[in-house]
């Protein structure tokens, strides 16, 4: 059928061109597996070919590739027989109520259009590795910790420093701020310090060093040990609205969407271990990363999934 032809002639299938390809080992190996499957069409699951899919709306080739790539990224578990929802069927179609009429017809040839379908067995992505989203998440906040390795007198610090506030009844740490890089630090009497608000790892480190220097100038033998980035938060905009109700149906194991509690969908990605907040406007917040690459990788993983829920024209 046209589906198999198009995919097997795609020249970019095995040429990694994405700058983030190194962080996506799954994609490359699965591409190879899928490629071998393509060459033996008979090995494709029979469920796929015998299904009458004429009831699905027409979609373009582009959409089809994106939809299949979404399956590849969720290799572990597939919801049984679920279809990536189009918005018209969004919230009212219960998974269990769908049934596939089995016919003896071969795969449909509705005007050369390939159906979007999540097959019974997980299939690997068809998207050529070069087709990355083109959107780079921006880092919004970095949280880091460092050990100054000396006991601190917080009252003393609050008295001698202009940029410090200390309210022991409310919180047992001094809250200190500097202007450049614009950050906030929590300094504890044990000598441990938390630095928040920086927009990059280097900025966070520079800021932490400045706080340590302030503490030094106040007369304490502060050191700079075990600087570690604890959390990174990034955000970006995919520039199209997203059907959250559909996403939570097809990715139930990873998603939590409770409009009564929070307007966004909370997606807990397993690899990399990142939590994404996905909103109807298309804005995505990524958090929980220890390294910048995890944010980028997580976004590249979610982008094809989100594109699958873009309204087909």
């Amino acid at each position: 059928s046209s589906f198999k032809d198009d995919v097997s002639t795609s020249p970019q299938l095995f040429a990694p061109m994405s700058p983030y390809d190194v962080e996506l080992p799954i994609q490359t190996t699965e591409d190879v597996l899928f490629g071998s499957q393509l060459n033996q069409p008979k090995d494709l699951p029979t469920d796929f070919s015998s299904v009458d899919l004429s009831f699905l709306p027409d979609i373009t080739q582009d959409n089809n590739e994106q939809n299949l790539s979404e399956d590849g990224h969720e290799m572990q578990k597939e919801p049984d027989g679920s279809i990536p929802r189009n918005e018209d069927s969004g919230i009212f179609v219960d998974e269990s109520s769908l049934s596939y009429p089995r016919t003896t017809q071969p795969s449909p040839e509705a005007s050369g259009v390939c159906p979007s379908l999540t097959p019974m067995t997980p299939m690997t992505p068809v998207t050529p590795a070069s087709e990355s989203s083109g959107i780079v998440p921006q880092l919004q906040n970095i949280v880091s910790t460092v050990n100054l390795a000396c006991k601190l007198d917080l009252k003393n610090i609050a008295l001698h420093a202009r940029n410090a506030e200390y309210n022991p009844k409310r919180f047992a740490a001094v809250i200190m701020r500097i202007r450049e890089p614009r950050t906030t630090a929590l300094i504890f009497s044990s000598g441990k310090m938390v630095c928040t608000g920086a927009k990059s790892e280097e900025q966070s480190r520079l800021a932490a060093r400045k706080y340590a220097r302030v503490v030094q100038k106040l007369g304490f033998p502060a050191k700079f040990l075990d600087f570690k980035i604890q959390n990174m938060v990034g955000s970006c905009d995919v520039r199209f609205p997203i059907r959250l109700e559909g996403l939570v149906l097809t990715h139930q194991q990873f998603s939590s969407y409770e409009p009564e509690l929070f307007p966004g969908l909370i997606y807990r990605m397993v690899k990399p271990r990142i939590v994404l907040l996905i909103f109807v406007s298309g804005k995505v917040v990524l958090t929980g990363a220890k390294e910048r690459s995890e944010i980028y990788e997580a976004f590249e993983n979610i982008y094809p999934i989100l594109k699958g829920f873009k309204k087909a024209s």
């Binding site: 420093a161 790892e201 280097e202 302030v214 100038k217 109700e245 409009p259 509690l261 307007p263 909103f279």
Partner: protein, 415 residues
């Protein structure tokens, strides 16, 4: 059984097993003191010598449920009965509750939280069976604060790794409308307000479906949408008598709460309906406004698929916009609309002529008041390595001078 130990009264080690009638006894041969008799209990040594055993040390504790757990289970069962849930739900909810309470993160929480935990288990069970119940309902039954319920629910979902399907709005319509008191004649319900339940439910379902297709539902609290949809549906079934009734009065008569967002949802729904009406040939003669459009809701809902396609241009709809005049509605579109369509509809908010189609987007994108943030990283920012030298003067700006310190400590009466 081997005799062990010594007689507590005389200290002799000569202990003999003897039977007094049918009862086994352990007797001291020297003084005749009975050490133990009727060995019916466990192997704990205290019990063998007829000493009191604390409950926590006896075997009874392992067999019985703790009082806290018993109370919690009873709570869960009561909740299920109040909500009139099927028997199966009760069993499932109780099993979730037992699992949850034994989990380390819930074992030691406050009693208040344990009660909420029971409510959460019932809630999860209902949702897993697609039984529509909102958190608001459970919270009001438990007299609980919604934030606390939310946090317990989220941690329950995480710890027990439960997958909870999304709330089905269609089912919610039916259950929510059940609580409306408009379907039977009553003292406070004016005669023209009473309506047939099936009709209201059917039309509200269509209205809610329309709302979800036009991005009014995603990310929003479900109940206000159902309330607003029910109001419009009810009005449209007998507009002459009901157009003068406001949303507030409607809710009061129906005996339901008016959630604050319902007014906004109503406004949004009316805007969608007005746009759809502009595409219906026979309605264009009337200059419809948000009151009069209600009369035609029946027609609009009947043809909603067609009307939606024409009233709103699609996202990536350059082709759509150009082709529209050709395939469009039966009568020629008004001049303004035609012009707008010919221009095509690039994504974003450019398509905002009065009579022309606008892009079908969530309201947060249409009414976007936020400035588009340009790339925040300036070249100087990206050049930072983190190891730059730090000048003394920069640090000193953050330190107080001696006079300042004196003034400060005097003023603050430093503790």
């Amino acid at each position: 059984m081997a005799a062990q130990g010594r007689c507590p009264s005389c200290g002799s080690a000569a202990l003999v097993e003897d039977a007094h009638y049918a009862q086994q006894q352990l007797v001291c041969a020297a003084c005749g003191c009975v050490l133990a008799e009727g060995l019916l209990t466990t192997t704990y040594t205290e019990e063998e010598h007829l000493r009191e055993v604390s409950y926590s040390q006896s075997t009874g504790q392992k067999e019985q449920l703790s009082r806290c757990l018993q109370r919690g289970i009873r709570r869960v069962q009561d909740l299920c009965k109040v909500l009139q849930l099927p028997r199966v739900f009760e069993e499932t909810a109780v099993s979730y509750f037992q699992r949850a309470v034994q989990h380390p993160s819930f074992h030691l929480v406050s009693l208040e939280k344990k009660e909420l935990l029971g409510g959460c288990c019932v809630f999860v069970t209902c949702r897993q069976h697609n039984w529509p119940v909102t958190m608001g309902t459970i919270c009001s039954l438990l007299y609980a604060k919604q934030e606390l319920f939310a946090s317990v629910y989220l941690s329950l979902q995480k710890e027990l790794e439960l997958s909870v399907p999304a709330l089905s709005l269609a089912d919610l319509v039916k259950t929510h409308l059940n609580s409306f008191r408009l379907f039977q004649h009553a003292a406070n319900v004016p005669a023209p307000f009473v309506e047939d339940k099936e009709k209201v439910v059917a039309r509200t379902m269509q209205m809610v479906e329309l709302a979800s297709e036009t991005w009014l539902v995603t990310g929003r609290h479900p109940v206000p949408i159902v309330t607003a949809a029910a109001f419009l549906s009810w009005q449209s079934l007998q507009p002459s008598a009901r157009l003068s009734c406001t949303l507030g009065r409607f809710c009061k008569v129906a005996g339901v709460d008016l959630p604050p967002p319902a007014h906004l949802r109503l406004k949004e729904l009316l805007e969608i309906l007005l746009r759809m009406a502009s595409q219906l040939a026979w309605l264009r003669v009337f200059k419809l406004d948000k009151k009069t459009v209600v009369k035609h809701i029946g027609d609009l809902l009947q043809h909603r698929i067609f009307l939606l396609k024409n009233a709103f241009c699609q996202e990536d709809g350059e082709e759509q916009g150009a082709a529209a005049p050709g395939e469009g509605s039966p009568s020629s579109p008004p001049a303004a609309g035609g012009v707008a369509q010919e221009k095509g509809c690039p994504s974003g908010g450019k398509c905002q002529h009065e009579g022309g189609p606008r892009p079908l987007l969530p309201p947060c994108l249409i009414n976007s008041r936020k400035r588009l943030r340009t790339a925040a990283t300036s070249p100087s920012d990206s050049a930072i390595t983190g190891d730059e030298p730090i000048s003394d003067s920069e640090i000193e700006q953050y330190l107080r001078g001696p006079e300042e310190i004196r003034a400060f400590s005097k003023a603050k009466a430093w503790p």
